[in-house]
């Protein structure tokens, strides 16, 4: 029971996930699964319940009910195991600005009990890939936002997590960096890392393998971007989103 088990290559499996705060239902019977190596877009209007669901999947908050397994572990009892197997990056917090690039790598690698030599090896590899090996001793605060963003992602996948959660990773980023960032996501996914991502840029929704759209705590749609556009007879994901995310969030938010 406590052993990790893989079901049909799904790294996230949620059945009837419910989270209530008092009378308010933040997540209403969410049922979905995410496959290994998939780029899964998790969209929704502000206050639709995305953050609540991500917190549960990361083991930071207990669901009210439902069966949820992440990386094969139960979110009620095995959060420690889950935390070792996931990576997390958000727009708000990513790196320590007063530490150098290498110090950040060493710190975050240390959290996952990685050996120094291994951290060094992977960090060099990642910095080499980004073409910024020489910035290893630069303080984060001195780097342009675009590079910081890419470093934050590198740090989040340093320990080769099974799943990486990206919460609005590209907010306010220039269009070139944004694309380079997505190319990094594709590369990570190609190595088998599952990517669970939220964004307000609807063009980025097109980059995902599958997209779910949350409205008022429910998953209103879940499919490939291609199929969603067909189903809702829309030219782009932006139109799909506008059609789905109706304006009742105002009344919902408490």
């Amino acid at each position: 029971m406590y052993e990790a088990k893989e079901n049909n290559g799904n790294v996230i499996e949620a059945v009837d996930l419910v989270k209530r705060f008092g009378n308010f239902v933040a997540n209403d019977r969410l049922t979905f699964s995410v496959q290994r190596g998939e780029i899964f877009g998790f969209l929704g209007a502000n206050g639709a319940g995305k953050t609540t669901a991500i917190r549960i999947l990361c083991g930071l908050s207990k669901p009210t009910s439902g069966q949820i397994r992440v990386a094969g572990y139960d979110v009620y009892t095995r959060t420690e195991k889950i935390k070792q197997r996931i990576g997390y990056m958000s727009q708000r917090f990513s790196l320590y600005e007063d530490l150098t690039v290498w110090e950040n790598f060493r710190f975050f690698g240390g959290i996952y009990r990685m050996k120094s030599a291994l951290i060094r090896e992977r960090a060099d590899q990642m910095l080499g890939r980004l073409g910024i090996l020489e910035l290893s001793d630069a303080v984060i605060a001195s780097l342009p936002p675009g590079i910081r963003q890419k470093l934050a992602f590198s740090v989040a996948i340093l320990h080769k997590p099974e799943i990486v959660f990206l919460d609005e990773p590209t907010g306010g980023v220039d269009p070139v960096t944004r694309r380079q960032f997505w190319e990094m996501i594709y590369e990570a996914a190609a190595t088998g890392i599952t990517v669970f991502v939220t964004t307000h840029y609807m063009d980025e929704a097109e980059y995902c393998n599958r997209v779910s759209i949350m409205v008022d705590g429910k998953i209103e749609a879940l499919d490939t971007p291609e199929q969603l556009k067909k189903t809702y007879n829309a030219g782009s994901m932006n139109d799909v989103f506008l059609k789905l995310a109706r304006r009742n969030e105002e009344q919902m938010k408490e």
Partner: protein, 311 residues
């Protein structure tokens, strides 16, 4: 000639050794919606703080409605409406208390000026007693806009009003701005979302403290100097890496569910058919290629990649 509302000549600003603004020139006409478009760190907020008399320009001159932002800051503070990033509201005060307070500091009465904000404030009025901190992003945005409009400003300055707000609220917000514009107010707005540029009368594309280009969105996209091809296929990453290896290709970038390729302006540049042939020869499966019209984002990326753009 349209009447001028704001002029900037050689506006620069440095903090210590870092240069936030490099010497900007721009004009905003009366009654237009002017957008400063660019990512974080482009200098938009610094520029807006100079426009609103909150910062002194390090160099150059800025005049708003004929008043100098340094000397005449007292007069300007009466006629400006300003909405800083992150919607500066008092989270522990209710919706109506916020509006009343901001009316109070400008010495106007909410009831007398209600007609100015009726259209926007009316939408959140049912929640008048709710604390501003408990509002959704879209509602905060409406309240902040009402607070910035209640004293009937001549110029409205909005710093990233749509950041952190979902696509639905963003669209609504722009619809509100379009309605406001009909009243003749000059609106200066900044945003990191390239698609919002199309909503503005004129825009300045900003990057690293520079204005790369200024003009109507249509004139900017029309001036895109290269051919663009749009390729749709199942393996976008493959398309990217394959096309980047081709000769006479300037760039290949992801655009939604497709890849945009721009080619060099030479006779040797590949045609759509040639690109398609090449991709098929490299083992790429079914794909559709067509010539496309450049969007603002294509222009922005292209300008960013020109090393000599601000000489």
């Amino acid at each position: 000639m349209p009447e001028v509302s704001i002029t900037g000549e050689g506006v620069g600003k440095s903090y210590g050794t870092t240069t936030a603004l490099k010497s900007l020139d721009f004009t905003v006409n009366k009654g237009e919606v002017f957008g400063f478009i660019g990512p974080d760190g482009a200098g938009k907020t610094t520029l807006f703080r100079i426009l609103t008399t909150l910062l002194l320009p390090g160099s150059g001159k800025v005049r708003v409605e004929g008043y100098d932002v340094v000397k005449d800051y007292r007069i300007l503070r009466r006629i400006l409406g300003y909405m800083p990033g992150r919607f500066s509201l008092y989270h522990d005060l209710s919706v109506e208390e916020n509006l009343r307070f901001f009316a109070g500091i400008f010495g106007v009465d909410v009831r007398e000026n209600y007609h100015l904000v009726k259209d926007i404030y009316g939408q959140i009025e049912p929640f008048a007693k709710r604390k501003a901190g408990k509002l959704s992003g879209g509602m905060k945005q409406k309240l902040a806009l009402s607070c910035a409009l209640i004293h009937e400003p001549v110029v409205l300055v909005l710093d990233e009003p749509t950041t952190g707000v979902d696509a639905v609220s963003r669209r609504e917000f722009w619809e509100m701005l379009m309605r406001l514009k009909t009243g003749g107010i000059t609106i200066v707005v900044s945003t990191p979302y390239m698609d919002e540029a199309m909503r503005c009368d004129r825009v300045a594309l900003m990057q690293q403290g520079n204005i790369m280009t200024t003009g109507t969105p249509q004139s900017i996209t029309a001036a895109f100097p290269h051919k663009i091809y749009r390729i749709k296929g199942s393996a976008a990453l493959n398309i990217l890496s394959l096309t980047r290896k081709m000769k006479h290709i300037r760039s290949a970038e992801l655009f939604g569910d497709a890849v945009h390729i721009s080619t060099e302006n030479t006779d040797q540049a590949p045609t759509a058919a040639e690109i398609s042939q090449y991709l098929s020869a490299q083992g790429l499966g079914r794909h559709i290629i067509s010539e496309a019209v450049a969007g603002i984002e294509d222009c922005f990326i292209d300008l960013m990649k020109q090393p000599d753009r601000h000489v």
